[in-house]
């Protein structure tokens, strides 16, 4: 339970707000690489602001506020040229740094263009995603987390959700929901629709724990029949502050990305790298992406797969949940811890320091802790994950299933 004032403080992400100030210290994925290859300029919304994202013919990316500084027409409809982006209305031209380099209708003997500047951000490409930084200088390094740079077969499921990103992040430090939402509820839906829900998702939680570390919070659990020696406790998996969760197991490596579009909308991405030991990986000139359906034609949530169940709970909590009337219990201590962490990091950002996870030294690859033997379910976890999760909608589902099966066969000891 929170005061209304604190709930607002935690959920408002626009410019000038405490949370918006914190969140502007991080890089965000704002497009798929293939999108700007298909058409070199597009609109994107991030942290309550609209931007024009573009790629010039030399392959360099840029991001500018959508409204042209001249008379506010949309630069997302701009003309991409060699040196930058030109406004479609009167032809003002901006380079990647936001400098105005041409005003065709103005006389040559004026320095007007030197007095105009768009507030440009920074853009990089990594792992099939285009990443943007719209915060203050100095620009931090883009963290190259393992899933984005490791060998394997990738795909990206995505959807846009009409709710705050914060409640989705709170779900990342809520281990108990797995047992109920993806266990009991999944079983109930399965019985109604005539399928068997994966039994490993319904195992009872005996103990949960949370550990702060350099990238966020490691979530741990001991399930019935297991001990603290099992991966779920010994290794766990992390909430990667402030907007990701790293999950996986059995050769599936995934980053769940929750981009705060504005106070009440979130871009949800499931970035998955399939990397089973012994697997044979094929070339991927483009990382496939696919939209995850979460609501049917009658307006009801689709709840017969794992992420659809999660989305149902996030969206039904409301665009911004009223946390003044919630009732947290001891099982929600991860949620309390995360809110405290956000408040702590807000203060660091407000004072000009680098909040958690902002890095200044480039690293080729950042490995995150993540359990291998998920739910001590063995290799069946990978097939359950694909059949019962959002991967069922992947355009390469059958190839991925075969990848994991072939890898498992290749690792089996030869018969004597």
């Amino acid at each position: 339970m929170l005061t209304a004032e604190m709930n607002q403080m935690l959920t408002q992400v626009g410019p000038g707000t405490p949370m918006g100030t914190l969140l502007r210290r991080y890089w965000y994925p704002v497009a798929f690489t293939r999108e700007l290859a298909e058409f070199p300029v597009r609109r994107t919304r991030l942290l309550g602001e609209d931007f024009a994202l573009f790629r010039t013919p030399n392959g360099r990316y840029g991001i500018l506020p959508e409204a042209c500084p001249h008379r506010k027409a949309s630069l997302a409809y701009g003309v991409v040229e060699r040196d930058g982006l030109r406004c479609p209305y009167h032809g003002w031209m901006f380079d990647h740094s936001g400098r105005c380099i041409d005003q065709p209708a103005e006389r040559d003997d004026t320095n007007f263009k030197d007095r105009v500047r768009a507030d440009a951000g920074q853009v990089q490409e990594m792992g099939g995603l285009v990443w943007a930084y719209i915060g203050p200088a100095p620009v931090p390094e883009l963290p190259r987390f393992d899933v984005y740079v490791m060998d394997g077969i990738r795909d990206i499921g995505w959807c846009e959700l009409p709710c705050s990103w914060l409640q989705i992040m709170e779900n990342a430090v809520d281990p108990h929901h797995v047992e109920w939402l993806h266990g009991r509820f999944f079983g109930f839906i399965g019985r109604q629709e005539g399928f068997d829900a994966p039994p490993s998702f319904g195992k009872k939680h005996m103990k949960i724990g949370f550990t702060e570390f350099e990238w966020g919070i490691i979530k741990r659990r001991v399930l019935e029949g297991a001990s603290e020696q099992n991966d779920d406790w010994k290794i766990g998996h992390p909430l990667v502050f402030p907007y990701n969760m790293r999950v996986g197991g059995a050769g599936i490596e995934q980053m769940q990305i929750r981009v705060p579009v504005d106070d009440t909308h979130t871009r949800f991405l499931l970035y998955t790298t399939h990397a089973p030991a012994g697997g044979k990986f094929w070339e991927q000139p483009t990382v496939p992406d696919y939209q995850i359906p979460w609501i049917d034609d009658s307006g009801r949530h689709i709840v017969n797969y794992v992420e659809g169940q999660d989305i149902m709970t996030w969206v039904t909590q409301g665009a911004i949940p009223d946390r003044t009337t919630e009732h947290l219990g001891k099982s929600d201590i991860g949620v309390a811890m995360l809110r405290r962490m956000f408040r702590e990091q807000m203060q660091i950002a407000a004072q000009g320091g680098d909040p958690l996870g902002v890095i200044r030294q480039a690293r080729d690859r950042i490995d995150l802790p993540c359990e291998r033997d998920k739910f001590h379910a063995g290799s069946t976890f990978a097939l359950d994950f694909m059949a019962m999760g959002s991967s069922r909608y992947s355009p390469q589902l059958e190839a991925l299933r075969q990848l994991h099966i072939d890898a498992a066969v290749a690792l089996e000891p030869a018969a004597p």
């Binding site: 339970m1 929170l2 005061t3 209304a4 004032e5 604190m6 709930n7 607002q8 403080m9 405490p18 497009a31 798929f32 999108e35 919304r45 995505w158 959807c159 846009e160 009409p162 579009v261 504005d262 106070d263 009440t264 909308h265 871009r267 992406d289 939209q291 609501i295 307006g299 009801r300 949530h301 149902m312 969206v315 039904t316 409301g318 665009a319 911004i320 009223d322 003044t324 009337t325 009732h327 947290l328 219990g329 001891k330 929600d332 201590i333 949620v335 309390a336 811890m337 809110r339 405290r340 408040r343 702590e344 203060q347």
Partner: protein, 98 residues
């Protein structure tokens, strides 16, 4: 990203569960108003270590319940003290079996 409906469009807002944003400043919704009022009444106002005000975002207190206790998980932005504050209604010598 590609082919997504514009944010805030009818396609995104449809469905019985896509609720309008609540006016948080208007106070608690009916039903749990008493609990919300108790939270506002009892939320720690000063840091137990340095005495600095915790109000108006100068810290955070998240309330959760454990048995009969109301626990305020609290952090002070001034001295960075972190701890749980539990209002006491009676002193229990030995916890009954449960």
């Amino acid at each position: 990203m590609t082919s997504a409906p514009e944010l805030g469009s009818a396609a995104n807002a449809r469905g019985p569960t896509a609720r309008p944003q609540q006016n948080l400043a208007a106070g608690p919704q009916p039903g749990f108003a008493a609990d919300a009022e108790r939270h506002r009444r009892d939320v720690p106002r000063h840091c137990p270590r340095c005495g600095t005000s915790l109000l108006h975002g100068a810290g955070i207190s998240v309330e959760f319940w454990q048995g009969a206790d109301r626990v305020f998980h609290t952090w002070c932005a001034s001295c960075r003290w972190t701890g749980d504050i539990i209002p006491t209604t009676q002193m229990i010598g030995h916890e009954p079996e449960h």
